[in-house]
């Protein structure tokens, strides 16, 4: 039986960074841009349902932000559901939208990711950055996510001899890519020496190993493939959506150097898709910290355990390499508005596979993988896209 598929027909992306706009304007801007990008136009009344990925950072409209999206997107009385899985909120919102279409229940769905992080003062931000980790054990030991990923990095370095230079190279590469992305937070190249010399945050991670605090919103319009063909000549199909879970706290997971949630999500996504890893043209992975990109390459099956460092240092993951990773700058340089990042990755798949990525376009790409992680690996989504 041929599965009914969902396809991206439009996508809108606000500028990422510390911006003056509030959450309502960010939502409106992203949604308007998404509708504006549909080649033959799409009447808002045709949106049957929407999903909003957001953590609710700073506590502004912590409950029921769905209604704010309904207002700003002018969706009338179409239902909106808020999806929250920490930094993977938009990845899971996208998956919810895809499943609504694949099931045959809906023909047109809006998926939005949002986070407004810069409104809070510094101490308040650190509070919000910690709410998605394991509160009772990791947090009470004094850890935020930088500390948890640093623990994984320490073990990865000890087990595999992963050099600090490989972590640094992730940041160097993603900053180089971000420079070409007009929506990115940072437009500044850095070199390995700068990353290695940056102030330490949680050893072995330094300031330039960490993603920034970011505001932003991204909107995605999904339609069934049949409807999509009427809206555009170049829809981007969702070839397979997978997701996975693991224990909230690192101490309760089987491995300290591998995210089982990512492995599970990747297996599911590739099982549903009609192609395998060799056919994937580029990856958008969850590089909240530099070590996370190395873990992702290994857990997604593109590098053997312990081999991602070598692959990165060889330049294979550069935009001009054999498997470009994070051509939009990744969370590291593009920025990481928690609830929006999963949608931003799908945005990059949409523009790259339609050959509309401008200066950062990867020539001839036909298939892409996006990878969104919640917490320190408690939840993850992997989504495969292909040009149709």
């Amino acid at each position: 039986m041929v599965r009914r598929r969902a396809a991206l027909v439009g996508a809108g992306h606000t500028r990422f960074g510390v911006v003056p706009e509030g959450p309502r304007v960010l939502l409106r801007t992203a949604v308007d841009a998404a509708f504006g990008s549909v080649d033959r136009g799409l009447d808002r009344a045709r949106v049957e349902e929407a999903f909003l990925g957001t953590l609710g950072f700073s506590g502004w409209q912590l409950g029921n932000p769905s209604a704010v999206l309904a207002e700003e997107a002018r969706l009338g009385h179409a239902p909106v559901t808020r999806v929250e899985n920490a930094c993977a909120s938009a990845g899971f919102a996208l998956r919810a939208g895809v499943r609504a279409i694949e099931s045959g229940d809906r023909d047109v769905v809006l998926v939005v990711g949002l986070e407004k992080m810069s409104d809070s003062p510094s101490a308040h931000r650190r509070y919000w950055l910690g709410v998605s980790g394991d509160t009772e054990w990791e947090r009470l030991a004094g850890l935020t996510f930088a500390g948890v990923y640093a623990l994984m990095a320490s073990r990865h370095m000890a087990d595999y001899g992963t050099p600090a230079e490989a972590l640094a190279e992730v940041a160097v590469k993603n900053h180089a890519n971000g420079q070409l992305n007009p929506n990115a937070q940072f437009h500044k190249t850095i070199d390995r020496a700068q990353v290695l010399a940056a102030p330490r945050v949680a050893d072995p991670l330094g300031l330039l190993d960490c993603c920034p605090v970011t505001d932003g919103a991204v909107a995605l319009l999904l339609a069934s493939e049949e409807v999509a063909r009427a809206l555009t000549d170049t829809p981007v199909a969702v070839a397979g959506a997978g997701a996975g879970s693991d224990a909230l706290a690192l101490q309760e997971r089987a491995s300290l150097t591998s995210l089982a949630a990512t492995r599970h999500a990747a297996e599911e996504a590739f099982r549903r898709a009609s192609f395998g890893r060799p056919q994937v043209g580029f990856l958008e992975v969850h590089d909240c910290f530099t070590i996370a990109e190395l873990l992702a390459l290994e857990d997604l099956g593109f590098a053997a355990p312990g081999k991602a460092a070598e692959m990165t240092l060889e330049g294979a993951t550069a935009r001009s390499g054999r498997l470009p990773v994070n051509p939009d700058g990744g969370l590291k340089a593009k920025g990481h508005p928690i609830g929006a990042s999963g949608a931003s990755q799908a945005y990059e798949a949409f523009v790259q596979l339609r050959a509309a990525a401008g200066a950062r376009q990867i020539p001839g790409v036909e298939r892409a993988l996006t990878h969104n992680v919640g917490g320190s690996g408690a939840s993850a989504t992997v989504t495969l896209f292909e040009r149709t």
Partner: protein, 422 residues
């Protein structure tokens, strides 16, 4: 059979204020008493334990917290604030006590006690196991109005070179030939004994590092029974103790902590807002209380179906889901191996640890594996230094952070053996 001190343990605080040993910001009467009690080992956990005496600076909450941390719910508790006299009277109070059985006496003096008078004398906790066996017997305790000449029942008392009538006064432990073998300074007011200043008997070499051990091994101890005399001076009254050494006493010390240098005296709890940094890990009090068996006693659920342990204990096996007939087992405190390590630098700490960073600059955190298998995450005690994977750590009870008007306590860890692995 008369009750005797059969085992003793001492816990010293881990911060230094000049020459004084004082509480680190994550130490207080409860953590010091627990460190001493845990150094006593099984004697402090025995089901034979009939009563716990709390002497000195214990907070009222210690009456439930100490038995909870020791896993001795329901044991009789007797709390006495006050100084040296009360320690010896508490020991005497167990003579002829019914029912028979071992007793635990936890005496704590905090350095902050003397601050009201402008003196600071350091902090110390002592745990004594009392039982019917041979050991150190306290035969007689007498109290007198404080002697203006620093004498009690004819014994000369060394005032540590300070003029009569000024703080601090002295606790001296004497041999039967009246030689001073150990001296402890103590301030007036509540409190028992602090900042022991050991003195070697003449001609016996450098001062010993374990003054209580010395005291309990007074000269002539090989000739049993061996009488001794001890004088303790308080601010308002002096105590005179006569006793007999009837057998050797097991002696232990709490795992030494890395030393944290302080530039100011510890802040008294009544001078700080315990809600000041509660914007952080919100763990509602009922959930904190619910987790105390795992948080304080390192209890895991052992599953009879898969013979595996689940930590923290949550009433269900993490491997097969079984919820019935799980057996609670405390993970051994002695051997934990570091699986992953980091140092959390300023800005990467949760807000509730802002105070820790302010004092220590940074702190270490490890994921460590118990010898039984389960892992746990521990903040490391003391100044942050790199900890190689494979190092050994010992979990200790410490303050974590203040929340909703009270301190929350849990396990941190002390590095006892750094791995030489890279």
């Amino acid at each position: 059979m008369p009750m005797a001190i059969v085992a003793a343990a001492v816990a010293r605080p881990s911060a230094r204020l000049g020459p004084l040993a004082v509480e680190a910001p994550d130490e207080d009467a409860f953590t010091l008493a627990m460190a001493a009690a845990e150094a006593l080992g099984e004697r402090a956990r025995s089901s034979e334990l009939a009563r716990i005496d709390l002497v000195g600076d214990h907070a009222p909450e210690a009456e439930w917290a100490v038995p909870e941390a020791l896993g001795l719910g329901g044991v009789a508790i007797h709390r006495t604030s006050g100084g040296p006299a009360h320690l010896f009277e508490a020991i005497r109070g167990h003579e002829g006590a019914d029912p028979p059985g071992t007793r635990l006496l936890l005496a704590v003096d905090l350095s902050r006690v003397g601050r009201a008078t402008g003196t600071n004398h350091g902090a110390l906790a002592v745990a004594l196991a009392l039982g019917p066996g041979p050991g150190i017997r306290v035969d007689h305790v007498a109290t007198h109005a404080r002697s203006p000449r620093g004498e009690t029942e004819g014994l000369r008392v060394d005032r540590l070179g300070r003029p009569h009538g000024s703080e601090p006064t002295a606790l001296l432990i004497l041999g039967d030939d009246e030689r001073v073998v150990a001296a402890a300074r103590t301030a007036g007011g509540p409190g028992f004994a602090t900042s022991l200043v050991p003195r070697a008997p003449p001609g016996t070499g450098p001062a010993p590092t374990t003054p209580f051990a010395l005291a309990l091994r007074a000269p002539g101890v090989d000739d049993l029974p061996h009488p001794f005399v001890l004088a303790a001076l308080g601010a308002e009254r002096d105590v005179h103790v006569r006793g007999t050494v009837t057998g050797s006493v097991a002696w232990s010390e709490a795992t030494p902590s890395p030393t944290l240098a302080l530039s100011a005296p510890p802040v008294r709890d009544d001078e700080r807002s315990l809600d000041a940094r509660s914007e952080g890990a919100y763990v509602p009090r009922p959930r904190y209380i619910e987790n105390l068996p795992s948080r304080w006693r390192l209890e895991a659920d052992w599953c009879p179906s898969c013979s595996r342990l689940t930590f923290p204990a949550r009433g269900a096996c993490a491997h097969c889901g079984r919820t019935q007939e799980l057996e609670r087992r405390s993970l051994a405190r002695s051997v934990w191996t570091v699986d992953a390590a980091t140092i959390v630098r300023p800005g990467a700490q949760p807000t509730e640890f802002d105070g820790t960073v302010a004092v220590a600059g940074a702190y270490g955190v490890v994921v460590a594996r118990s010898s039984e298998g389960p892992r746990a995450t521990f903040q490391l005690v003391g100044p942050a230094t790199p900890v190689p994977i494979g190092s050994r750590v010992v979990p200790v009870l410490r303050r974590l952070y203040p929340m909703e008007g009270e301190w929350r306590y849990g396990r941190k860890a002390i590095v006892v053996a750094a791995s030489d692995a890279r």
